[in-house]
């Protein structure tokens, strides 16, 4: 198994640019102020991100993108995570990756240039049962005449309201498949905003009953494994950013808050767990950039191990950091006003998307213990 970590010049530049950009345009105050708004991100800000080329990072140059890989999104997504910025970038990028791997030539030619140009794509994968298995699909598509009639309910679909296209998973002729639903095909009453723990995010329930698609909206192939892996990678990148900021929030408070005549950071009961949070962050970022390094080249077995270890480490580390951030802020930590709750909420959301640490350790058992080597 390779232990390699390489940070390419592009990745290093993207990280610097993105850290600057997100700090300047989307401070934690800006993010907090948008909680009550209909959209989590201002359209102007999204336009600026698109101008920087970020919407097309993993889209080939022939379709107007930068021609890099999914791994090259990691520095940008990590930087976004620092101040809990939310944007359609992650799901647009995974949608683009899905079209590249499983879409038809026409579907690619139609959507990839639009996505690279800032059209918003998202994915409707989760169902009310909350299963993490992407092929565990109850929603259906059945042929009636020239069209496919959809039925069932999807949930936790991020940015569905503003998406130009939604990629949906369906049972079709006995197999889980993927289909494209353009915004125009979604009746307004089919979308219902959901209450989720991370208030910086907008998620919707999508009722499929009554939606009819032309057959050519079905993707000819499937790539559920690749979708899961891209999601594990990018969600972990987001968590690495959030984890870093949670650490900074804690350290700042420990250096300025006094109790019993001493800065609370001088007490080892607070100092030592804070060091654990730092070590957890370093572990997550090490797994993260290793996963980036091997993402395109590794055998699928090795890639799966790297990504499940990453998601487990990131989930455990960030949720611990968020939990301790509340506790270490004392009474202030119990208030809505304290930013610690924003980070804990983000940590919990990410922890429970695409498998928590227990789930990934369970899947790692057979990968690590039952095969020689």
């Amino acid at each position: 198994m390779s232990n390699q970590i390489i940070c390419t010049e592009e990745q290093s530049m993207l990280l610097d640019t993105a850290l600057d950009f997100c700090e300047k345009h989307s401070s934690i105050h800006v993010v907090r102020s948008r909680i009550g708004e209909e959209e989590s991100l201002s359209r102007d800000l999204w336009s600026s991100m698109v101008e920087l080329g970020w919407a097309g990072i993993n889209i080939p140059e022939t379709y107007g993108g930068l021609g890099l890989g999914v791994g090259d999104l990691v520095p940008v997504v990590e930087a976004m995570g620092r101040n809990l910025m939310v944007s359609p970038l992650v799901w647009s990028a995974i949608s683009a990756d899905t079209l590249l791997l499983a879409g038809s030539d026409e579907q690619r030619a139609n959507w990839l240039p639009k996505i690279a140009g800032g059209a918003i794509a998202t994915m409707a994968l989760t169902e009310p049962g909350g299963s993490w298995l992407l092929t565990d699909v109850d929603c259906r598509g059945s042929i009636e005449g020239d069209g496919i009639v959809l039925s069932g309910t999807k949930c936790l679909v991020q940015d569905a309201k503003i998406a130009d296209v939604v990629l949906v998973s369906l049972q079709f002729e006995g197999k889980p498949r993927l289909a494209l639903i353009p915004q125009a095909a979604i009746p307004s009453q089919a979308l219902k905003r959901e209450e989720i723990i991370d208030e910086t995010r907008r998620c919707y329930q999508l009722t499929l009953d009554g939606i009819v698609l032309p057959k050519e909206q079905l993707l000819p192939e499937t790539c559920f494994e690749a979708i899961e892996q891209a999601a594990m990678l990018l969600i972990s990148a987001e968590m690495a950013g959030g984890h870093a900021s949670t650490l900074n929030l804690i350290v700042e408070y420990l250096k300025t808050r006094k109790q019993f005549d001493h800065y609370i950071g001088s007490y080892q009961a607070l100092k030592h767990p804070t060091v654990d949070i730092l070590i957890g962050l370093e572990a997550t970022r090490s797994h993260l950039y290793h996963a980036v390094t091997i993402y395109e080249s590794a055998q699928s077995h090795e890639r799966e191990i790297a990504l499940r270890m990453l998601k487990a480490t990131a989930s455990e580390g960030f949720s611990f950091a968020g939990d301790r951030a509340i506790q270490f802020h004392g009474g202030f930590g119990f208030t809505y006003e304290c930013d610690a709750q924003l980070y804990l909420r983000r940590a919990l959301w990410c922890q429970y998307q695409f498998g928590d640490e227990d789930y990934h350790r369970l899947l790692l058992q057979s990968l690590l213990l039952d095969q020689a080597g």
């Binding site: 232990n3 990280l15 950071g265 100092k271 030592h272 370093e282 487990a312 790692l364």
Partner: protein
């Protein structure tokens, strides 16, 4: 540059030599590191092995020829060290000489000191020990109280040092002692000696460890006279020299003679134990809880490996460059302690045995677990490391 082909040829040569000359099972449990050498039998076995490796030309390969090395590029020695670990041959017992005192003397010593000491370090004629810690100042070296008072061309030493590994076998000690109390701070009064151990008034008393074995000494100095010219650096510069030594000890800088310095036990050895262990008659790896704990340990071991890789990439460490290197001992030693503890839980009722022929692997795991505390305590306890990390890396107020 040494060509790939040259490296491969050399690797094959070393590999063959080690296979041919591996001293094999001595018929008694060998120590895991220089800190655990407790019997004359163990010591003689290891000393002979080091001598054999040196005489074959595989130790101190990058050290200058005029002092006993071979003056070759470091890569050759690294190949030997890796090959030794891979073939699991015994370690080089003169660890303090090879890895700390030797490189220090080569870096800062006089020509005479280099000629006097280096060769004996390599061929294991002259065993070295370290006199830094004191009974009342375990992790706080700057407060050392052993006194050295100048008297003509000698210093008269009084006090005691503790945790002197190989103290009973050593010919020399790297000694940190207080030559003055008048400096602007406690560090300014310290001096550093390459002290002979065979002087009158120096008495290393073996300490029995929690394993019931020996391996450390408390070394008492009772009006012991050591020559003034064995000082390293000038009077009052002892702290700086000691810090340079710690840089070698912690592996922060290169220059060591190389060679395997301890029996390497890692998490994969525990996995291998798990594969052949039974609990209540069933394979231990059928137990869901054991499986989860094993995976958890494998992930954490992997985290440490990957952190070492990330530490070498500046753009990924711009915010807190000290975070990974400064937590290395803490992470590594604590993980080892935990996976050794876990190795006992794989053994059913036999987890309660100790070193004996009836125990699993001869009681190796019980002994390794107990000895693993030497790394979580020695060189600054885990708890002190947490304070250092909190204060120096995160900038938190002092405790």
């Amino acid at each position: 540059m040494v060509s790939e082909q040259e490296q491969n040829e050399f690797r094959a040569e070393v590999s063959a030599w080690l296979k041919e000359n591996n001293p094999g099972d001595p018929g008694f449990l060998l120590p895991e590191s220089f800190m655990e050498v407790g019997t004359d039998q163990q010591f003689e076995y290891l000393r002979n092995w080091q001598r054999k490796v040196y005489e074959a030309g595989y130790l101190g390969m990058s050290w200058p020829e005029e002092y006993g090395g071979r003056g070759m590029p470091q890569i050759f020695q690294d190949i030997v060290t890796k090959e030794m670990a891979r073939q699991r041959v015994p370690f080089m017992t003169n660890t303090i000489g090879l890895n700390w005192a030797g490189p220090l003397i080569l870096q800062q010593g006089t020509e005479a000191q280099k000629r006097q000491y280096i060769k004996g370090i390599l061929n294991a004629d002259d065993i070295w020990c370290q006199g830094f810690s004191e009974p009342d100042h375990g992790s706080d070296l700057g407060s050392a109280q052993v006194k050295a008072v100048k008297d003509g061309d000698e210093y008269v030493v009084n006090g005691s040092k503790i945790w002197t590994s190989l103290g009973a076998y050593a010919k020399y000690m790297i000694l940190l002692a207080r030559t003055s109390n008048d400096g602007p701070n406690k560090y300014a009064g310290l001096s550093f000696f390459l002290a002979p151990m065979q002087a009158e008034g120096i008495n290393p008393q073996p300490i029995q460890k929690l394993t019931s074995e020996y391996g450390f000494c408390q070394t008492f100095f009772n009006d012991a006279r050591i020559p003034a010219n064995c000082m390293m650096g000038q009077e009052g510069e002892g702290w700086q020299v000691a810090m340079a030594t710690l840089m070698f000890e912690r592996g922060n800088v290169g220059g060591q003679a190389g060679g395997l310095s301890m029996m390497d036990v890692n998490v994969n050895d525990v996995l291998e134990l798990a594969r052949r262990s039974k609990r209540n008659g069933k394979p231990a790896l059928d137990d869901p809880l054991i499986r989860d704990q094993m995976v958890q340990l494998l992930i954490e071991a992997r985290s440490n490996t990957l952190m070492a890789a990330k530490a070498a990439i500046p753009p990924l460490n711009s915010e807190r460059p000290g975070a990974i290197p400064m937590s290395g001992k803490l992470r590594g030693s604590e993980l080892k302690r935990r996976f050794c503890q876990f190795a006992l839980s794989l053994q059913g009722a036999n987890g309660g045995r100790f070193v004996s022929p009836d125990a699993v692997d001869g009681g190796k795991w019980q002994r390794i677990y107990f000895n693993s505390f030497s790394a979580t305590i020695g060189g600054g306890t885990t708890q002190v490391q947490y304070n250092i990390m909190g204060e120096r890396v995160l900038g938190l107020p002092k405790s």
